[in-house]
């Protein structure tokens, strides 16, 4: 007589053990291996952390290691006989007196009217540790993004050949194309402007 009794707890445990102890299917092993290898390949690809920001109508990125901090917008005081298209003046940041670059003026970017996404911030930057810092005002700073170094594409020829460019590459971001700023070039241009 066949019986259709429901499985006892012991039966359930035995079934679970069989499921867990079953040999791996070759396809499953191959899939897991591929996934694991891919993630390692991804991890090995050089990453860069970039601060993304908008100035006027253009988006920019800057290596995050150069950024000292991002703060609320502070008042900028013009420095007589020195303030010009590239240099707005001085501001106070964390108790220090910091020069403020006019990115709009320096890069001849058109100012954009304030929008709902505008959240102006003062970005304090130092080209290297222990070096004197400087600042610029950005119209929006969404944050720091990690991206593979290969995501940085070369500049168009017309930009690359420009005598006083401060960017070193182009990126595609969720906000659209962004120029990667070379802080050393930017600082050098700034020094030329105030010198």
């Amino acid at each position: 007589m066949s019986t259709t009794d429901s499985p006892t707890p012991n039966d359930r445990r035995a079934a679970m053990a069989r499921l867990l102890d079953r040999p791996n299917m070759p396809a499953t092993v191959a899939e897991a291996t591929k996934a694991s290898a891919e993630s390692r390949i991804l991890r090995r690809e050089p990453q860069i952390n970039l601060l993304l920001f908008r100035c006027g109508s253009e988006w920019f990125a800057m290596p995050a290691e150069c950024v000292v901090h991002v703060s609320r917008v502070t008042k900028v005081h013009a420095l007589p006989h020195r303030t010009n298209h590239a240099f707005r003046g001085l501001t106070a940041s964390s108790g220090a007196v910091v020069p403020v670059i006019d990115l709009l003026g320096m890069l001849a970017i058109e100012a954009a009217p304030a929008t709902a996404t505008s959240k102006p911030r003062m970005v304090i930057v130092a080209a290297a540790k222990e070096q004197e810092s400087w600042a610029f005002e950005a119209d929006a700073v969404p944050g720091v993004y990690a991206m593979p170094r290969t995501a940085v594409k070369p500049l168009p020829l017309t930009v690359e050949q420009a005598p006083r460019r401060v960017t070193s590459g182009l990126l595609t971001t969720t906000h659209g194309p962004a120029s990667l700023i070379d802080p050393v070039r930017l600082l050098s241009e700034f020094k030329n402007a105030i010198g």
Binding site: H77, L79, P80, H85, A92
Partner: protein, 774 residues
């Protein structure tokens, strides 16, 4: 303590400075106490430590010399030899050589200098190793670096001047009095005495090595913490407003006279939330008070960490007095008072050379020889007192001796013989005016030039140092002595300043530089030869716009204000009045030097961060006056009504933006006839392109235009920093109030209707904004 930022050579230099100071003072004391063996012990240790430090960085010449000094001191301690004046001289010279290493910039420089002076150093080491009394002559050594005082002196007057204390070749050729028995027989003559003072002996703080950049960072952060603490004040105000609104809500609820359980619950909830709000407000107030107190204390402490005791500037004085008095055969007791008086380390750094000059000057000119003193009925031994004290918010550093006093007749004769003034005038000068001549570069009353003083280079350096830090110097003299008292700011880190507004931004001027601050009506401005002046307390004062000197564009408000704020600054005996927007009050400002990347910025002395966290610039009043006078001389300042003349230097240029060719032509002609230069644009877009290509003093715009209307055009300009203060006059057919408001809200400076062409209010509005045409 983190010494990571210091190189081995930095540490060597610090150590050498400390040990050589100990050697210099200790050797003089040893000489006075006839070789007390107990006094030799610390000197041996000092020489030994210098030897050890030099060995770490392999400075062979220094190792050998320090070793010879140590060996010599060992012999003195054992009583094998006695510390004669000659032996002490040799040891002091050794200490000087080692001390010189602390002034060099790098280890390589130290090696090069030791190599170049190898022969001299070896000879001195040999002399120290030889028994006392051997006739060994050590040739002079070339100073490792030129002393700052000597450089300053040479710069002030082109007269060769050898440093007095550093052994120099000229020392043997300049005729100076040989050491007299009276001087060498009375070693106590050179004993520096520390006089009791307001703070002496109370607090012997141990000093630690902290890099100045760390100290600066500490000061910055403490200032910022004060700003942040005060930011809580705005939260407190918000909570206070919420509390008031809450009370109104509760009152309104009560007035409804609601009944029932739900009404009771609502009233109870309001009461609970009111209590919570009260509690939060109390907590914030308490936190604000404690946070502010703590941040203030921290900030004050950080600022005061820039102070050092006055005694730090007196390190070399005992030695200087000993050497100079020995050379001149005089008997002098040095008394130093107020060694613990705190002095800003920047002032202290500036103070050393002038103090040295005053001390040498006092011994050479003021103090008589022992015989002369006895003949004059004075004690044989003179007293030279160097004192520091705080008085009425200033630091007074006084050098006073009980010598013969300044001979006024000699001084008058000298002024006349040098043709510095007419005899009649010289004879009528009072003491104050007469003594001013002592500070002229190259002026000296000494009949003969000695290596000590008398070249007239020194006192002018003292005065220029005092002036450079905003101080002054006062001379008093009588037959019983002379006193030179420098009145200096207690600190260069904090300046009491008048905070003013110029061209819409905040500036400050140190109060010590200001004569007075006044507010006058514009109608009180009168012209003299076309230049604006006003009468303040009976004196006619020439007016200059501060904004013009600083090359800043004045705001419309300051151009049209009916009252003017005048800051009067002394220019010699006269006054120049600077027109500023407003006087905002007096504040103590922590001085921040400007970034070296900007170089020397004309008219700007430093920056400072105010208590509200905003930055301001501290102006250099002397530089402002100098520029104002220069520009006037060159005919570049020509204001005539108290309004800025900057805008009148060239013809005003106006851009007319109008789509109607008729109206455009009417406006252009009117403006041309009034003397303005005019360009035109046919719509807002055209106007936007035009303002970017050329510089305009004012823009006249219509409202209704194709492509970009006038309102959009004005908004676009106001959003751009380059044009945010460019005056814009809107001229439109639309004469409704809401149209006018829309124009002004967009940022227009004035809104006129086209009917204004008939009644000249159009030209008047433009004249009000930028002045009449040239």
């Amino acid at each position: 303590m983190d010494l990571g930022g210091f190189s081995m050579f930095d540490l060597f230099q610090t150590e050498v400075q400390q040990h050589c100071a100990c050697l210099a003072d200790g050797l003089i004391a040893l000489e006075q106490n006839a070789g007390d063996p107990k006094m030799v012990e610390p000197l041996m240790r000092a020489a030994h430590s210098v030897k050890g430090a030099a060995r770490i960085i392999n400075l062979d010449g220094a190792i050998g010399l320090a070793h010879a000094m140590e060996e010599c001191l060992v012999r003195i301690q054992r009583g094998v030899e006695t510390p004669t004046a000659g032996r002490i001289d040799e040891l002091l010279r050794g200490s000087d050589i080692l001390r010189s290493l602390a002034d060099l910039k790098s280890e390589d420089d130290a090696r090069a200098w030791l190599e170049s002076e190898k022969a001299v150093i070896t000879q001195l080491a040999d002399a120290l190793n030889a028994p006392s009394g051997s006739a060994t002559v050590t040739p002079a050594i070339t100073p490792a670096i030129t002393p700052i005082a000597a450089v300053a002196a040479v710069a002030a007057a082109p007269v060769a001047h050898a440093p007095v204390i550093a052994p120099s070749p000229s020392a043997s050729t300049v005729p100076v009095a040989p050491p007299t028995p009276s001087a060498s027989a009375n070693p106590s003559a050179f004993k520096p005495t520390t006089a009791p003072s307001q703070t002496s002996g109370s607090n012997q703080d141990a000093a630690v090595l902290v890099s100045s950049s760390s100290l600066e960072k500490l000061l910055q952060l403490s200032g910022e913490s004060l700003v942040e603490a005060r930011r809580l004040e705005s939260i407190r105000r918000t909570l206070t407003r919420a509390k008031t609104a809450h009370r109104h809500l509760a009152d309104a609820l009560d007035s409804l006279e609601l009944n029932g359980r739900k009404a009771g619950d609502a009233i109870s909830a309001v009461s609970t939330s009111r209590d919570a709000l009260e509690e939060a407000l109390h907590q914030v107030e308490d936190h604000l008070r404690r946070g502010e107190e703590l941040a203030s204390a921290l900030h004050n402490e950080a600022v005061s960490s820039r102070m050092r005791p006055f005694g730090d500037a007196c390190g070399g004085l005992a030695r200087s007095v000993r050497d100079v008095a020995r050379t001149l055969g005089k008997d002098v007791r040095l008394v130093i008072a107020g060694e613990q008086v705190p002095v800003d380390r920047e002032i202290l750094r500036h103070l050393e050379a002038p103090l040295g000059h005053l001390v040498r000057n006092a011994i050479d000119h003021g103090i008589e020889t022992p015989d002369e003193r006895v003949a004059a009925g004075k004690p044989k031994q003179a007293t030279l007192r160097v004192e520091a004290r705080h008085h009425a918010g200033s630091l007074i550093v006084e050098v006073r001796e009980d010598g013969r006093g300044i001979n006024r007749e000699n001084l008058r004769a000298r002024i006349i013989s040098k043709k510095l003034s007419e005899p009649d005038i010289v004879n009528s000068l009072d003491d104050c005016e007469l003594f001013d001549f002592l500070f002229l570069p190259g002026f000296s009353t000494a009949a003969t030039v000695t290596d000590i003083s008398g070249r007239g280079v020194g006192l002018d350096v003292v005065q220029s140092m005092a002036h450079s830090v905003g101080g002054s110097i006062d001379v008093r003299s009588s037959p019983s002595g002379t006193s030179f008292a420098m009145r200096l700011p207690v600190t260069l880190s904090i300046v009491r300043a008048a905070v003013i507004s110029i061209a819409g931004q905040t500036y400050a001027l140190a109060l010590v530089r200001l004569e007075r601050i006044d507010r006058i009506a514009r109608s009180e401005v009168k012209t003299v030869e076309g230049r604006p002046t006003t009468v303040i307390r009976g004196e006619t004062v020439g007016l200059v716009h501060a904004a013009e000197i600083l090359e800043l564009k004045e705001t419309v408000q300051s151009e049209t204000a009916e009252e003017l704020s005048i800051v009067s600054v002394l220019a010699g005996a006269r006054t120049v009045g600077f027109v500023v927007d407003a006087f905002l009050g007096e504040e103590d400002l922590v001085v921040r030097r400007l970034d070296s990347r900007f170089g020397d910025v004309p008219h700007v002395d430093a920056a400072s961060i105010r208590e509200n966290g905003d930055l301001l610039l501290i102006l250099d009043a002397d530089d402002l006056v100098q520029s104002a006078l220069q520009l006037l001389e060159q005919g570049k300042l020509r204001g005539n009504d108290g309004r800025s003349s900057a805008s009148k230097r060239t013809q005003h240029r106006i851009l007319v933006v109008e789509d109607s060719i008729t109206v455009r032509e009417v406006e252009r002609q009117m403006l041309l006839r009034a003397g303005y230069a005019v360009d035109t644009a046919v719509d807002g877009m055209d106007g936007w392109n035009a303002v970017q290509k050329a510089k305009y003093d004012l823009v006249v715009s219509d409202v209704d235009m194709p492509r970009m209307n006038g309102i959009e055009f004005v908004r676009k300009m106001r959003a751009d920093r380059r044009f945010e203060s460019l005056p814009v006059v809107i001229v439109s057919y639309k004469d409704r109030e809401e149209d006018r408001i829309a124009g002004l809200e967009a940022g227009a400076s004035a809104y006129l209707t086209k009917g204004s062409f008939q009644d000249r209010s159009f030209l008047q509005a433009i004249a009000d904004l930028i002045g009449t045409a040239v």
